[in-house]
Symmetry: C2
Subunit: 189 residues, 2 copies
DNA sequence: TAGGTCATGTAATAGGTTACATGATTGC
DNA sequence: GCAATCATGTAACCTATTACATGACCTA
């Protein structure tokens, strides 16, 4: 996902701690906290971010990270540059590739489980995600943010709905498929 | 993608060398050859695969890997188990999230570039991929393979078509969007 | 008093890419 | 003669996950 640039982007909206950055992610795509800390440390070494120490009474100190000039320039450069697409690497499809080794029922079962999970995700993006974003828009100065954030969420939902449609088709095709011999082993060569 | 299981699956169809495994992947999802060699070595250490050395005249020796009993059991276990889905981590969407920092025209430009790439991929999966698979089916004993491989390819195409549809929508929405103030900086607080 | 939130991290492991190294054969 | 194909790998680097470690405060 290129964590570095997402962190730069988030910090450019508002400086915050590693802990707070972690919570800024949707739960569905949230990286490990330890990874965020390490990436921040690396970026600081490279001069892309820096931090102010914030002392709090009764709570632990925070390192409040912000984007430097160099970091800001790097982010803008990245935003203007086309980034690679990755398709066809999904594990469920990889499984299917070799599924003739197992029973049809097990294959259908997996696809169904998968579809249920996707349905939940769609629901989440249509409700929770929209709510989170609406709050975020409120705290942001730029009027374009609402547009872009909605378009981005719409993108994820479009993807998920494509998976659902595919899963339905797949289950139909697989369950209705009748090979010459399923039980009696006669055609071996 | 869980390379280990894809390699086990490919080898379970037919034993072959690391070099040959590399060529068995669609170019769009092909891992680095060095990664394949390393994964094979790891799997051999764990007893999931082993190899016979094939000496060729005029060509370098091959290590022809095959799946062991343990490897076969491991593959079957994995095939029956639901695997995680990952959605929303696509870099183009991550970019969009922070694109209010750059010009609308640059954003549209990126999405257009992306859509062109997707169109090419769709074309490829509908022609080349089908051809490659047709050859593969021919060399495979199990009658279910053709079904599963077609369903898998259909899945990738469905995904790609969803991206295209989204890209069209996105460009329309972004180009028609008119914020209150783009040039004159008046609403700052 | 047990579990959750706030807040920082290290260490080990796994997965993946790019660059580099070797060397014979084949086709243009 | 030069590039591509066949065939093996090592080394460095980057990205990501899981487990472990610390410690104060707050709530049930």
């Amino acid at each position: 996902m290129s964590l570095r640039y997402v962190l730069l982007g988030l910090l450019s909206n508002k400086p915050r701690s590693g802990y707070s950055l972690h919570k800024s992610f949707f739960p569905t795509v949230r990286p490990a906290l330890s990874q965020i800390y390490r990436t921040l440390a690396d970026m600081q070494d490279e001069g892309l971010v820096d931090f102010d120490r914030l002392e709090q009474e009764k709570l632990p100190d925070q390192k409040v990270y912000f984007v430097t000039e160099a970091g800001s320039a790097d982010l803008d450069r990245w935003l203007r540059e086309p980034v690679p697409i990755r398709v066809g690497r999904d594990m469920p499809l990889a499984q299917l590739w070799f599924s003739s080794r197992i029973d049809k029922e097990d294959v259908i079962n997996n696809i169904t489980t998968y579809a249920d999970e996707v349905r939940n995700l769609i629901e989440w993006y249509k409700t929770e995600a929209r709510t989170l974003v609406a709050r975020g828009v409120h705290s942001s100065a730029n009027p374009m943010n609402e547009l872009y954030w909605n378009v981005a969420i719409h993108g994820t939902i479009t993807q998920l709905e494509a998976w659902l449609k595919w899963a339905d088709d797949a289950v139909k095709q697989i369950s209705s498929f009748e090979p010459k011999d399923t039980k009696s082993p006669s055609v071996t060569e």
